[in-house]
């Protein structure tokens, strides 16, 4: 069976690539732990792991840097896998949390909490702005982003809409929520506007271990769901009719898949703020390397998202240290040129 043997070699290469990507992500995570303005390096990390480091070093490594690194990995993986699932389910390369109204919904919810419910205030004496009640802000952001998802999915159920109209209604809702956010800001006091803007920049340093635990659980569950349905996603790539002929319950997997990925994206965005580019670009970068098979594309996309966000955050911390640049801007600056390069390099050869 030459054909089978050739295929098994092909599968081994894909697995090897995924393993290499995982190793690279771990290496980037260790590098991120060792990078920062307090002058602690790999030696301190090893000492701290062995319990021989100073109290200060341990605090910096485990209470400041480690939560940040874990947040980057979990948020990157969550946004990327959600984006990938949405792109596959809707058969639209532009689908992601930021094009389906989830990010804009979260931004509106956070603005509402800060402006109308008084959850945020500027505090000049410390490092700029602190959000007084981060729980309320996250809860409102989450509620509004799920509201946006609910409207898109509800409309599609009600009128048995096509994937295209789901994307378009997501775009319409994005605009609606963005308009609402603008209005809130227009009538708000300066200090509150500053807090809103600060929130929407995105920041990986806001999460405590408790929030990380919630976020990790949701992201892990959504990844597990998508992995369990990877054959359905593969079948959907051949068209809706063909997928039905292969035994896929297309309506149900579309609805549940969208719900699960929106939930993961909404949780991430509610905790860390708007990080626009990862969910869109990480799946496309991964697809360039491993092809369209969701068995490898899902883990590869999640790892690519984690890696991109880690690198972006490390860059954001180091470029003009000790100032930390807004992560959303850095992901765009890193991701967009990389993406354009990959897009046109392949286009030229095929």
């Amino acid at each position: 069976m030459d054909t089978r043997l050739a295929y098994e070699g092909h599968v081994r290469r894909k697995r090897l690539f995924a393993a290499a990507l995982a190793a690279l992500t771990v290496a980037a995570a260790v590098a991120a732990l060792c990078a920062g303005s307090s002058g602690l390096g790999l030696g301190d990390l090893v000492a701290a792991l062995a319990g021989r480091a100073s109290r200060r070093a341990s605090v910096v490594l485990f209470n400041i840097r480690l939560p940040r690194v874990v947040t980057a990995v979990v948020a990157g993986a969550g946004l990327a896998s959600a984006g990938l699932a949405m792109q596959g389910i809707l058969k639209n390369p532009l689908a992601s949390a930021s094009t389906l109204g989830i990010s804009q919904g979260a931004a509106f919810g956070a603005s509402f909490a800060i402006v109308a419910l008084g959850a945020g205030l500027q505090n000049q004496s410390l490092d700029g702005v602190t959000i007084l009640n981060p729980y309320l802000v996250s809860a409102c952001a989450f509620a509004c982003s799920m509201l946006s998802t609910g409207i898109v999915l509800g409309l599609s159920r009600l009128r048995s809409a096509t994937p295209e109209s789901m994307v378009l209604s997501g775009v319409a809702l994005s605009t609606l929520f963005a308009g609402g956010t603008t209005l809130l800001q227009y009538f708000a006091a300066d200090v509150k506007v500053a807090a809103v803007v600060f929130w929407s920049f995105g920041d990986l340093g806001r999460t405590s271990w408790r929030e990380i635990a919630v976020m990790s659980a949701v992201v892990a569950l959504s990844l597990a769901y998508h992995l369990a349905n990877r054959w359905s996603y593969n079948a959907l790539q051949s068209g809706e009719d063909q997928a039905k002929g292969l035994g896929v319950n297309v309506e149900r997997s579309r609805l549940v898949g969208m719900l699960v990925s929106s939930l993961a994206a909404a949780v991430v965005v509610s905790y860390v703020g708007i990080i626009n580019f990862i969910g869109l670009v990480a799946p496309h970068i991964a697809r360039r390397f491993v092809g369209g098979d969701y068995r490898y594309l899902l883990p590869a996309s999640a790892l690519t998202g984690a890696l991109l966000l880690l690198l972006a955050d490390t860059a954001a911390r180091l470029v003009v240290a000790p100032v930390i640049l807004p992560i959303g801007a850095i992901t765009s600056f890193l991701g967009a040129p990389l993406f354009l390069y990959l897009l046109f390099r392949r286009k030229g050869t095929s």
């Binding site: 054909t3 295929y7 051949s238 039905k244 002929g245 292969l246 896929v248 697809r287």
Partner: protein, 277 residues
């Protein structure tokens, strides 16, 4: 074994596409579904595969009501090949492997891989196994879809114009494979097609659709001048060339067609929509 009884379908509250369609197709048979564009041929096979939910009537698969079978259980018995071959960024092997999804658990086993490899070799796609489907020609993609359906190992195989993108040689090879598989695996093959001569050559049952329902159904004897003329609106001659029955369109012999009327120029020599695919 497929049994269709009183099948009706319409999109929403619109006009009926199918109306009281009834026929039986036994195992081992190769049934050609024939008729004009818009006669409801594609809709019929989609209703049998339950890709579309019939508005009325029933479809029985091996004696069981298809509505009572789950989608996965149905996919183990009935395979469907869509009109347009897929153009996805999967390798040929992975694309054919999808045919095993109704049968396998979380991961394909060695047996699944062997079935896929033999389906690929059966259609002569061995050299393309690791190429991406979206880099193949239309005809090759169509063969991938067919290989996937064979890998599904169904009892009934439904195909919507499986030869529309193929050249002459590949049309005959593909139809020969379908006929042989029907006989070898005692599978019921139902093919929507336009080429009457290809149908006559390889199929043993002929189902003519007209005005949303079955106009004629039976063996080669139903393919006569009267039926073809009534179904397609074109006068034909059915002749035998070296023992092979052939249908020859004779539009110029018709009243008002061909020479005098402008209609003769529009007669379907080749379907423009298929050429662009």
């Amino acid at each position: 074994m497929i049994s269709v009884d009183g099948l009706g379908f319409s999109y929403g509250s619109g006009a009926a596409i199918l109306d009281r369609v009834a026929f039986d197709a036994a195992a081992g048979r190769c049934v050609a579904v024939l008729g004009n564009n818009g006669a409801g041929k594609s809709t019929l096979v989609k209703c049998v595969a339950r890709i579309l939910e019939p508005g009325s009537g029933s479809v029985y698969v091996d004696g069981e009501d298809a509505a009572s079978l789950g989608r996965r259980e149905l996919a183990r018995r009935v395979a469907y090949v869509a009109q347009r071959g897929s153009h996805d960024r999967l390798t040929v092997f992975d694309s054919v492997l999808l045919g095993r999804t109704p049968h396998m658990g979380y991961e394909p086993g060695r047996e699944d891989l062997d079935i896929v490899a033999s389906a690929i070799d059966r259609l002569g796609l061995g050299g393309l196994a690791l190429r991406y489907v979206d880099e193949l020609s239309g005809g090759e993609a169509q063969k991938v879809a067919l290989a996937r359906a064979l890998a599904q190992r169904p009892r009934t195989l439904l195909l919507d114009e499986p030869t529309s993108n193929l050249d002459l040689r590949n049309q005959y090879e593909t139809m020969a494979i379908l006929r042989d598989e029907a006989a070898r695996s005692n599978m019921c093959v139902i093919v929507v097609m336009h080429d009457l001569n290809l149908a006559l050559r390889f199929c043993d049952r002929f189902l003519f659709m007209k005005d949303r329902t079955v106009y004629a159904y039976g063996g080669p004897e139903v393919v006569d001048e009267g039926t073809v003329r009534a179904v397609y609106g074109v006068p034909v001659a059915v002749e035998t060339v070296r023992g092979v029955p052939v249908v020859v369109p004779m539009p110029s012999y018709g009243e008002g067609l061909g020479e005098q009327g402008g209609l003769g120029r529009r007669l379907p020599v080749a379907e423009p929509e298929e050429e662009s695919a």
